[in-house]
Amino acid sequence: MKHIISALVENKPGVLAHVAGMFAARGFNIDSLVVGRTEDPKLSRMTIVVIGDDRIVEQVRKQLARIVPVVKVQDFVDKPVVARDLMLVTIAVPPEKRPEVSTLVEMFRGHVVDISPKTLMVEVSGPETKMEAFLDVCKPYGIKSVARTGTIAMPRQGSGEE
């Protein structure tokens, strides 16, 4: 099962190495890991997507919490959260197909961010399933390259579902 784990960490050198090293040393698999600044300049947030059964994910959570500069660890598995990826895709699009692909991009609420005679670069954001769906519909044109941020997430304050 996929778990989104959010760790608030001190903004110090070596923290990422410590977290990554712990995952490697204990044999836990990271699906994605995103680090970014937060509202507090002293803290960064790491959003880590891990796949594993409950026992493994519980260990991941505890081992993370044990790392000295890790301030707080949350597992979002049973919580209503907003989870988002950002993706850039370069698609092989000859000029005559541009309108067709633009329609697709609009349907996914993406943006065309770069254009060349043979390609379009598109920016799409949203839940991971949407990224996968967009890639599926683009496949027939030819996907030249993909860059993805990995998931960031935040629990909802209200109880609404996505």
């Binding site: 001190e10 190495a17 505890k62 301030v71």
Partner: protein, 574 residues
Amino acid sequence: MPAKPETPAPAAETVKTGAQIIVDTLLDLGVDTMFGYVGGVVLPLFDKLFDAPIRFIVPRHEQGGCHMADAYARASGKTGVILATSGPGACNLVTGLATAMMDSIPMVALTGQVRTDLIGNDAFQEADTTGITRPVTKYNSIVKDVRVLERTVREAFHIASTGRPGPVLIDLPVDVLVGKCPCNGKAEIDLPGYKIRTKGHARQISMAAEAINKSERPVLYVGGGVIIANAAEELRTLAEKAHVPVTMTLLGLGSYDQRKPESLDMLGMHGSAYANYAVQESDLLIAVGARFDDRVTGKLATFAPHAKIVHIDIDPSSISKNVHVDIPVVGDAKHILTELTKEVEYRPREAWFKKIAEWKQKFPFRYDAKAPMIKPQAVIEEVCRQTRGDAIVATGVGQHQMWTAQFYKFQRPRQFISSGGLGTMGFGLPAAIGAQFAKPDATVIDFDGDHSFNMTMTELATAVEHELPIKVCIFNNGYMGMVRQWQELFYGQRYSCSYLKNPNYAEVARALGAVGITVDRKEDVSKAVAQMLAEKRPCVVDFRVEQLENVWPMVPAGKSLSEMDGLTILESMA
């Protein structure tokens, strides 16, 4: 005219160098003994240490120094301190740090580093010390600004010695050691991510007490955590009040007096048959400061199959790591055992203690006392007898370590000093030295294997230099005994690379300025032990022991605790 201060004047600030800040902070933290080795980039620090009221012990190799600091901590309960230079000096600490990490020993390592502007340039004696030591320390950091130096040193000691202790390393570039800043000696630690739960949850404690009161066949399974928490007295009170037998892990030895009837001695791969049977038949296992290591549990799927499990530990990540725990209690063992004792009631448990007595009667630790050769177990028994079980005992790793655990009867905490988790050969001699520095009046014995001793025997020179009366008993069988035993049992007696030609240890000892004795006849053991104990100088006794002796009983790797090999062999020796 200066404005009148509204708040009290801050403490006087003096401008100091980084090296001076470190020495002053160490003194303020109560450090009076350090171990370490000089080198280029740490010279500013050594220059300040030259005048400081700190006893400084220089080993012959940084690894030895690291083990000394570790054993100093184990024997005294204080935080051990080791200092090494950059590059090779820091790299030589790795084994010692990993040893301390696995056994949760409070230690602070200070390492020199090249100038900050050279870091990453492959400078002379540069190594990525924080990168190399991150997995073998509880925490490490590099100080690049002299203004945070004092705080970092204080944080290191706090992290090393609290919660589940462990080694903490601070990497110190030389420009930080010579850099200057105002320092008032009152820096406060700032560790928002470091929280320790000390008090156990009251409801969990009540649940544990209720489980103990209901249990017909309980066993206390205790580890090094009880010793670290200074909770041996609380353990004794609980075991006696609730009337529960106690078995110990290797590192738990000393937490419960083995002369008492409730003691089941050590459990696990080479533990007592009565401890292993008791665990397997128990209906309640109360683990305290132990971590369900594979050498303790045997095959996990069949470990203590009928038992409900209570786990008391300060490290939440230890709970349910290997086995599912029914009643976890996170916190300090001393506090939890005290609270638990209030709620437990005495139960006679006659049938259970009768069964245990039968196992004890049938399967005591034994060896063939009639054999013509010197048996290592007999030497340990003799040393135990002549020291009245009161010595501090260090060991290397292997057969002799297991025999020591089986045949020396420990009475109190901090008496047995051994590398449990990492299993570091070569630990014994430097550990004995570190322990003797911590307890100058104690009798300190190193029971050592010949090849464990070979790994760090250069430290005998350190013992001689400081005139330490340590006693080294080498069980000389030519083999790496435990490896040989596995080769005999599991590799068709093909003794690949496990036999080495040894030097004459008594002559080596004498050449280094120690006393050297060779014993090759059984009837000379007692006299040699007496002579060894009377010596005021370091003394090495080379016992030429039975070469092919095995450690029994043995739970082969992957088998259940009750599936012990060697029981019939032991019975035949009765």
